[in-house]
Amino acid sequence: MTAYLQVTDLNKRFGGLQALRDCSFTIAKGRITCLVGPNGAGKTTIFNAITGFLAPDTGHVAFQGTSLDGKTPQQVVRHGIARTFQNLRLFADLTARENVLAGMQDHVGEEPFAAIFRPIHTARTLAAKRLAALDVLAHVGLQDRADTLVRNLSYGEQKLLCIARILATGADLLLLDEPTSGLSGAALTEVMALLRRLQSEGKTLLVVEHNTRVVQQIADDVLFLHHGHLLAHGSPAEIIADPKLAEIYFGGAL
């Protein structure tokens, strides 16, 4: 049986820095996989390589048996993979609802021809999509903030909106870059509950996560990355129990 997402022998070099070195792993459908490792381990580089933002020097990425090599970011989204960014990259001058709408695919009137020559059809479908966007927002608990400008949302709300925005793309595999960083208390619990809920709805999640408590609570599998190389692959308990990995993980920081 082919793996849901298969990453094989990725290598990427930036000048003198080997960002990824023979990096291989697979991800199983319907599971939450956490990608951990110290800063600069290459976690975001892997995201960039999978989603087409970065061409690896060598290596392959395949999704549900289809090769993603050489695909552009927008083609990758069409295949059903969407990502968030560590620094959010929300559209700050748009409302929450408009951000979600921007994530939705196959809009009528997303090019000038239909917008100008089929205005009524455009307006009708847009009205429907606006309602659908409200549903997506409700899914992450932001339905009351739909028409608020993003710049006026709290940080926690912005984090939730990032997830809502990629949910709107309809992707099945969600790549979340540090969805809980900078959150605490209720906001943190809320995001963790959301991730669980998404899993129960059939989504597969690959999450870059620093917080070991979060990893323990949500991860089914853990990938441990160091210097661009996959050091270990296992359950959260196994990874955390390994003293060598703990040394690498906390060694630099302490």
Binding site: T51, F53, T72, P73, Q74, V76, V77, R78, A82, R83, F85, R89, L90, F91, A92, D93, L94, E98, L101, A102, G103, Q105, H107, V108, G109, E110, E111, P112, A114, A115, I116, P119, T122, A123, L126, K129, R165, I166, T169
Partner: protein
């Protein structure tokens, strides 16, 4: 009142150009200083077709718009590779190149002499020669332009363009083609500029390179900024205000020999004060 109608007709043509500039600079964030060059190509093509062939006026306008769509896509494409300040100056190079062609390609543009005797528009057998009649055409042109602008801005395309201005990478991550959207916007801006060019040439009946130089491009930017970037209302009010301003300044009584320079000086002062106290323009969003 030919003065008033001439003023309105000219302002309406500039509204079309304002929409073109606003779409690129205000909405998508492509800082182009070569819109007057595209405008010029539209004007010269219409003039050429009407003077040297039996092309009917509406077809000439359409052909000008079509050529300018193509041209504007080409001159905007560097923005995909060259970013920020570097693109501004590249676009500036394009403008100077265009001026050189307008001034020296005597066979096509009449060169520095310009092209006199561009025929007035004929539509349904009627010649629109008096400013009052022509104003009808330019009003229709402006109304169509505004309608298009309004329709795209309320459609998902408008939202996409605004999103691109904020973060191209995030747009790509959501499965949208930034290239396609930018090319579409450039095409639309080209169509506005091209048809404005056609109207301009037939209205004045004389064109020369001085209407399509760097000054003209900068005037368009000024119109957009003073009117208000990013909004339809801003693109409409900007040209009307800036074309009226010299006429209003002419009311100030100054000794004759320095009057013109003094009025230009006041114009400059007004721009400065305006930018200090109302940088978002009369009817605009903050840029």
């Amino acid at each position: 009142m030919d003065f008033l109608t001439t003023y309105i007709a000219l302002a309406e043509i500039y509204v079309l150009l304002g929409l073109s500039t606003n779409l690129l600079v205000g909405i998508v964030g492509i800082f182009s200083v070569s819109q007057a060059a595209v405008f010029g190509v539209g004007a010269y093509l219409t003039a050429f077709l009407l003077m040297h062939s039996s092309t009917p006026f509406p077809l000439a306008i359409l052909l000008s718009a079509a050529l300018c769509i193509l041209l504007n896509i080409i001159v905007t494409l560097p923005s995909l590779r060259v970013s920020g300040d570097y693109f501004v100056v590249t676009s500036f190079g394009i403008q100077l190149l265009a001026t050189a062609v307008f001034t020296n390609w005597t066979g096509g543009t009449g060169g520095a002499n310009g092209l006199p005797g561009v025929p007035a528009p004929i539509l349904f057998g009627h010649e629109f020669i008096e400013p009052t009649e022509f104003m009808l055409l330019s009003t229709i042109g402006m109304a169509l332009g505004c309608l298009c602008f309004w329709l795209i801005m309320r459609a998902p395309f408008g939202a996409l363009l605004r999103a691109i201005r904020e973060d191209e990478l995030a747009v790509a991550a959501l499965g949208k083609s930034v290239l396609r959207a930018k090319v579409s916007a450039a095409a639309l801006a080209g169509a506005f500029a091209g048809s404005a060019g056609g109207l301009y040439a037939t209205f004045l009946s004389f064109i020369d390179p001085s209407s399509f130089d760097l000054d003209a491009s900068i005037l368009l930017l000024t119109m957009v900024v003073v009117g208000g970037a990013r909004t339809l209302a801003g693109s409409v009010i900007g040209p009307f205000v800036l074309l009226a301003l010299p006429q209003i300044l002419a009311l100030i009584d100054i000794p004759t020999t320095i009057a013109a320079a003094a009025r230009q000086l006041i114009y400059g002062l007004l721009l400065i004060v305006f930018m200090l106290f109302r940088p978002q323009g009369l009817l605009g969003e903050k840029l």
